[in-house]
């Protein structure tokens, strides 16, 4: 008897708990969960991403990834939100794990971690949430439910190096890196190789800012480089590079006749180089070394939607896969036509495999473009 009473009480408590729990959540959500769940798994393939602290308006890496997700949503007719595609921004390094977990718990079919900083978090969560699929950009994670997306940054940087070498008149070129990590090393190596392929006598001054979000440091480095007679600077430093653009714009404004050039990275940064001098618009950016995170994100989302998720594999996007490239050349550059022919020529060689660009400084030593 006692036992039965206890059982009754227990089930009452449970029932009350369920009802109260249901009250806590919004009504619509419940309906969606009950009625729409099946439909969701069959029809909509939902995708989400976690940004690092830069956020989706960083004019660089995260923004590009978010544009890729938006393009995916547009193509398959999904809207931003829990039933389509969405992103979460991290406020600190400690948030990556929480954010990735939240998205997996919200049953997004594929969750992207944007940037090598999320390597540890993805590895750990992929092991815990085995029936969810993840992808990470710029890092290698070997788990059966994770796809690692890598880029041949060296190929884009190589082309940027070719453009820089053709544009310089002082034969002095600068490179500003964010942090000394493998990704940036690929940029540096490719860039140096590209410069040397055009003219081995050109010197490349390399400096690292130590951070991706310190525009003021970028500006200081750019200022000292320009004053040393360097006339073209390429950056692979995310937000730090905005300081380079500011310095280039300021110098151009002061001395409109001076040759001051910058080269952007990740996405087409042309808009950052606009200066107005005496009512006329000028631009200090020659071109940008593109890293099409957007293409890669969209491509993998579509593949996964089609049931072809290459879990456990690493996909490397290079020039041949339209994963990297070079933005259009600024028409203010005197040698524009020259640059374009050289870039087209090298691009073909890289595409058909005649030319393999080195990815580490070690490999660069034995590299020759001939």
């Amino acid at each position: 008897m006692k036992k039965r009473k206890f059982g009754l009480a227990l089930s009452l408590v449970l029932a009350a708990g369920t009802i109260l729990g249901a009250c806590g959540k919004a009504e619509e959500e419940n309906n969606a969960a009950e009625g729409g769940n099946k439909e969701k798994t069959e029809d909509a393939f939902t995708v989400a991403m976690v940004t690092d602290v830069g956020g989706v308006d960083d004019k660089s890496f995260n923004q590009s990834a978010w544009e890729g997700l938006q393009a995916y949503g547009k193509e398959v007719g999904l809207e931003k939100g829990k039933d389509g595609f969405d992103y979460l921004q991290s406020q600190s390094d400690a948030d990556y794990s929480t954010n990735l977990n939240t998205l997996a718990r919200q049953d997004f079919d594929l969750v992207f971690g944007i940037g090598f900083l999320m390597e540890g978090a993805i590895k750990e969560i992929a092991g815990q949430q085995k029936d969810h699929n993840f992808a990470i950009v710029d890092a290698l994670v070997e788990e059966p439910n994770v796809v690692s997306i890598m880029f041949k940054e060296q190929e884009a940087a190589f082309l940027a190096g070719v453009a820089a070498a053709k544009a310089t008149t002082s034969n002095k070129i600068g490179f500003i890196g964010g942090m000394e990590i493998p990704v940036i090393e690929r940029f540096e190596t490719g860039f140096k190789a590209g410069v040397a392929a055009v003219n081995p006598d050109i010197t490349v001054d390399v400096q690292y800012a130590g951070a991706f979000d310190k525009a003021e440091v970028g500006q200081t480095i750019a200022s000292s480089m320009y004053s040393k007679g360097i006339d073209v600077i390429f950056h692979a430093a995310g937000g730090t590079g905005n300081g380079l653009f500011k310095e280039a714009r300021d110098l151009k404004k002061k001395e409109p006749a001076r040759q001051v050039w910058a080269i952007g990275v990740d996405s087409d940064q042309t808009a950052e180089g606009v200066v107005e001098i005496d009512g006329k618009e000028h631009n200090v950016i020659i071109t940008s070394a593109l890293k099409r995170v957007d293409n890669a994100v969209k491509d993998l989302s579509l593949k996964a939607k089609g049931g072809d998720f290459p879990g456990g594999e690493t996909i490397t996007y290079g020039l041949a896969e339209d994963g990297v490239g070079l933005a259009p050349i600024n028409s203010e550059v005197a040698t524009k036509a020259d640059i374009e022919t050289a870039v087209a020529e090298f691009s073909d060689k890289i595409r058909n495999g005649d030319l393999v660009i080195p990815s580490t400084l070690e490999e660069l030593k034995s590299f020759s473009a001939q």
Binding site: K25, S92, T102, F116, K214
Partner: protein, 348 residues
């Protein structure tokens, strides 16, 4: 109304006012405030996983809050918690990576190393203040940057080969446990919360129940009177900074041995040290107050991450609310005046 009651009412009023003004901002900017707070709540306590994450976030906040509160109770303003935390983080991970020790002992050694590192880092401003009367605020702020860049250098050159992070600490040194993970559905909750609560007890016991604590507080109230009473002012100043720094170092150990399990090169500050100032301020520099304030801030921070997804409200709004709460605590004179008015009317 007694002063004691007022001391409790002021922070509560500040929180209510902060949330109220935050709500007004949401309504004015066209966001759904109810949905936002629901999302905030669900993101902090909606699932056991999130509750685990809240406690994980609260752990270093309690210790950072204790660090600030301890210094404040002894008349010092320790802005260097952030730097001491980073140094403690590095020390804990260093021990965790480089040593081979049996399980529990390894963790304890790593935790003690963090406390020691934080204490040493705080010794510098304490010493300068005691010997040369250099203001501790300026020295601690500068040492924050020094700590950031020195640890970055050590991680890059000594603890790794030009990599951006160290190896994972050895299993024997970790504060994490599969038991707690299983309990909270794979959250990163770790045993550090126990250390934080022990820290709270130590602070209370030291300040309120020992002669040394009495001296420390006394020096904070009035150096000259304490000196006249025969206390060694300089020793007490240094000791106060060192203990404060040890708490901050422990907060770093929580991140290094619990949350992350490694130390990585940082482009900027973690922010935990600075949040500690807000926690201490809201908690009225008392041990229980610090726990409650850390719990509030931790829940707000973790819950905020869920807001954009569930309600479409940007999570920066929580930063605004936190800032407002700090503002109202700082402007507590206003609230006190208001309470006085009300209670006087009641008497009439």
């Amino acid at each position: 109304m007694s002063n004691r009651v007022k001391n409790i009412i002021v922070p509560i009023m500040a929180v209510i006012l902060g949330i109220l003004v935050g709500t007004i901002i949401m309504i004015v900017t066209g966001y759904d405030a109810v949905a936002a707070f629901t999302a905030l709540w669900n993101g902090a306590f909606g699932e056991i996983y999130y509750t685990g994450e809240v406690i994980r976030q609260v752990t270093p906040l309690i210790l950072a809050g204790l660090s600030v509160a301890f210094a404040f109770r002894t008349g010092l303003f320790n802005i260097g918690v952030e730097g001491q935390l980073i140094v403690g983080w590095l020390a804990a991970v260093w021990v965790g990576v480089a040593f081979n020790l049996p399980p529990v002992i390894h963790t304890l050694v790593a935790v003690l190393a963090a406390a020691l590192a934080g204490a040493l880092w705080a010794f510098i401003p304490g010493f300068l203040k005691a010997k040369f009367r250099v203001h501790e605020v300026i020295v601690t702020i500068m040492l924050n940057y020094t700590a950031l860049h020195v640890t970055n250098y050590i991680i890059r050159t000594v603890l790794s080969e030009k990599s951006d992070r160290t190896e994972m600490i050895k299993e024997t040194a970790t504060l994490r446990s599969s038991f707690l993970e299983g309990l909270t559905d794979y959250s990163r909750l770790h045993w550090g919360i126990v250390i934080a609560l022990i820290g709270v007890f130590i602070m209370w016991f030291l300040l309120e129940k020992t002669t040394r604590g009495y001296e420390l507080r006394s020096v904070g109230f009035n150096q000259h009177a304490s000196h006249y009473a025969g206390m060694n002012v300089n020793t007490n100043i240094i000791l106060s900074m060192v203990i404060s720094g040890a708490f901050a170092g422990l907060a770093g150990a929580m991140e290094g041995l619990g949350t992350f399990g490694y130390a990585s090169i940082k482009g900027g500050f973690t922010g935990v040290g600075f949040d500690g100032i807000a926690v201490a301020l809201l908690g009225g520099n008392g041990p229980i107050g610090v726990i409650l304030a850390a719990l509030l801030f931790g829940a707000l921070k973790v819950g905020a991450l869920n807001m954009p997804l569930e309600s479409g409200v940007p999570n920066e709004l929580v930063d605004i609310i936190i800032a407002l709460i700090v503002f109202f605590v700082a402007a507590s004179y206003m609230i006190r005046l208001f309470i006085d008015r009300i209670s006087k009317k009641g008497v009439k």
